[in-house]
């Protein structure tokens, strides 16, 4: 019987996952190296992946402690810092000063540093939660399709094909513009966030669903499943105790790859004006507003652009590292 991975399910954040994996691995160090332990050893040697992981942890901390780090109200106007003729910040580099580390926004004079810090909340919230939605849906439906086969498989697979062909960006744009302003006790930005998370997650599950289904198809024929079955194990037991633990590796890999995509989708939606609502700040929305000033105030465009770039890069590097660590035989 192959030893199942002793890692928490993918619902937990990757940072927590590695720690848990480490803890789990140490506890059983005497008994020889588990798969998780081996993966961790490999990951430790991958400096790029570690750097990415550290940036991710840092970002999560920034988002959590935004009010402390920003030090000021991201929505407060500072008109006195704006040149009324052009609407651009006074001073060099978009109004960089001791009070405003990244300068201020054109027209309103809001502090860019504070808005970037608060914007991290939106990006990470949407990135993580929509990935969670996708993982839960994708895992459950994928494993069912792979395990039961027959009409269940056909139905789930066709739905996945359909969703993959669906123009999700256009759909979200259309959906958001007809969304009520109040829903389920949420208002304004709350509604938008809820809808974005749900929809991005919903359109993301087939990617995980396909992988899980494929893995399940091959795993269900393995001897240890056969053994469990012949010992009289029920279907549910086989699904969740025998198959699921062996699917954790691919799920984690795909989750870490999906989060940056979701962050980009959120940025794109905010860029197009259907993301969060003002005055809530979001990187995509800042980038969109910066277009009018790319020449007169380039700093305003550079800052949110870099924020998105660094975040997505960090997640991708980390995700790549995790994939290589868990599946060294994979293509690369």
């Amino acid at each position: 019987m192959t030893a199942p991975l002793h890692e928490p399910t993918a619902e937990t954040a990757p940072s927590a996952a590695e720690e848990a994996a480490l803890a789990g691995a140490e506890a059983k160090a005497v008994q020889g190296r588990s798969l998780g332990r081996i993966a961790w050893e490999r990951l430790k040697r991958d400096r790029l992946a570690l750097a990415g992981g550290m940036v991710v942890v840092l970002l999560v901390l920034v988002a959590m402690f935004a009010p402390l780090i920003a030090g000021q109200d991201p929505d407060a106007y500072h008109e006195n810092l704006i040149d009324p003729l052009f609407g651009t910040p006074k001073g060099s580099l978009g109004g960089v000063s001791a009070d405003h580390y990244f300068g201020v926004e054109p027209v309103s004079g809001r502090d860019i540093f504070a808005r970037i810090v608060y914007g991290a909340r939106i990006s990470l919230l949407v990135g993580f939660l929509s990935a969670l939605v996708a993982v839960v849906l994708g895992t459950v439906l994928g494993i069912l399709a792979g395990f039961f086969g027959g009409w269940v498989d056909s139905a789930v697979s066709r739905v996945m094909d359909g969703l993959l062909a669906f123009p999700q960006l256009l759909f979200i744009i259309a959906l958001v513009s007809v969304m009520p302003n109040q829903m389920l006790g949420l208002t304004g930005t709350g509604v938008r966030l809820f809808v974005m998370i749900l929809v991005i997650g919903f359109f993301g599950w087939p990617y995980i669903g396909r992988v899980v289904r494929g893995q399940t198809l091959s795993l269900r024929e393995r001897e240890y499943v056969e053994a469990a079955r012949s010992l009289g194990a029920g279907r549910l037991y086989i699904l969740f105790k025998e198959l699921l633990p062996n699917l954790v590796a691919p799920i984690i890999v795909y989750t870490t790859m999906m989060i940056p995509t979701n962050i980009l989708t959120e940025a794109a939606l905010s860029f197009l004006g259907v993301g969060v609502k003002p005055p809530t700040s979001s990187w995509g929305q800042m980038l969109s507003a910066a277009i009018d000033y790319y020449d007169s105030d380039p700093m305003y465009m550079v800052v949110p652009g870099l924020a998105i770039f660094i975040t997505v890069l960090a997640f991708n590097l980390f995700g790549d590292g995790v994939r290589d660590a868990l599946d060294p035989k994979g293509s690369r």
Binding site: Y77, E79, P84, G87, S177, K277, D292
Partner: protein
Amino acid sequence: MTTQRTSGRRKQAMAATAVVAALLTTAACGGGGKDDNSGSKTGAAGFDAANNKVAQASLVKKGGELKFAASQDADSWDTTRGYYGFMWNFSRYYSRQLVTYKPEPGKAGAQITPDLATGLAKVSDDGKTYTYTLRDGATWEDGKPITSQDIKYGIERVWAQDVLSGGPIYLKDVLDPKGEYKGPYKDTSKDHLGLKAIETPDAKTIIFKLPAANSDFEYMLGLTSASPVRQDKDTKSKYGLKPFSSGPYKFESYDPGKDLVLVRNTAWKAASDPIRKAYPDKISIKFFTNANDLDSRLIAGDYDLDIGQTGLQAQGRATALKEHKANVDNPTSGYIRYAVFPQSVKPFDNIHCRNAVIYGADHVSLQTARGGPVAGGDIGTNMLPPSVPGSEGQKYDPYQLATANKNGNVAKAKEELKACGQPNGFKTTIAVRNNRPTEVATATSLQASLKKVGIDADIDQYDGSQTSGIIGSPSNVKKKGYGIIIMGWGADFSSVQGFGLPLWDSKYILQSGNNNFGLIKDKAIDGLFDQYNTTLDDAGKAKIATDINHKVMEGGYYLPFVFEKYINWRSNRLANVYTTDGYSGVYDFVNLGLKSTK
């Protein structure tokens, strides 16, 4: 009478229109000569050199190609269907009317002057009958004379709204308020000239008989939709692709959304036309899809001017003001940008709550959001645009928005909140079009300053192309709780009726396509509008306009943001350039000329 159209399309039209005004009526000398000093012979005329005065009139050379650039095509080039301001302005190249705007800078440019007619109308004492005699020598592009029947037929086309939708319908509302006439295409009379309100006793005489007096009627006859159309050349819904010319230029080619070229109409005789100078040999429009691209081509000198005349984008504006200041003018537009408070949404039924918002807002911040004092405009202090007769401009400032309270008066706002019974503030929703970044910026500014007085405003960005169904529906406004609506408005013609009737008269509260967003039901205001229709002298009309404006401001229905201004580009090649209030402060296209024919 007149209903100002209010569809999304119209809003677009108004946006596409630039605008006007005439703060300083430095009684521009129509001639020229003098103003040329500020610029070089081959270079630009100087900053604001063509704003309300004529720049470089003496440098005009006949001939050459005048090149317009456009960020979007007109709604239609059909004289009956066009509603975009630039289309009205441009249509004078290929279309004439009985009367039109004077080809003069500033305020004078908004006055009506005879075109096809020999003089202004002979108006009967009761103000209900208008008689015109036609000028000799005016012809169509095939050389046949323009007759009174052609004019009547052209006006009748306004009734065919099922086929020719989109244009203004003032004439239809005034001449046939009950809608008895069915339009020329459903007209069973032999000559299709069945409209009873217009009589054409002979080819040179045309008589209009109004069921009720309207002192702005002649303005309506000056609209492009009152142009003559020849029956045998009427291609109905396809007419806009190639209108049959009555002016100095005719259509050579038109590829919608790509380009349009006009060439000289050889049948047109200068002697028959007191308005049009017809300097260039050829006039072209190139349509762009990206406004920033258009700006950079203008600044590079590839084109002479932007047909839209809505001002340069932020990027081009900065470049132009820093490096080519002599190439721009900064006219005031006839637009007012404002917030309005629907009285159906609590607590805005109470004037003190409305006042709290007016006092709480930071007017300088709102002005900056609109683009600042140069590109955005002066702080708006009342609801009558400076170009409309009867306006007092910033001198009438009942809330001291441009002076003492320009950064918001928190103490006064809190006082008003107490008087309103909401001492701790309240929650409300700001409705704003999602396709207007500057409007969203003003909403965000308002939200930030209202937060300081305890008013918690949520911003709802609705689909800007659905304006008439969303904020134009009072029941929807109430359902959604839109306490503050952000909008802008410009006049179709320069009078208090052309600007304010749809906004302030209780008869204009509509179930759909409403523009009286404040749901103003004030008998005094309604009465003043009725009185206006029968007042024929200009001084009397201006006085009523002033009174209406005061009543509206005293009601606290509106928070004006700016009397809008634009930064418009003119190339080094242009000569005889001036802005006119007739077309909302933009350049008068019809008499533009070039300094060099190359």
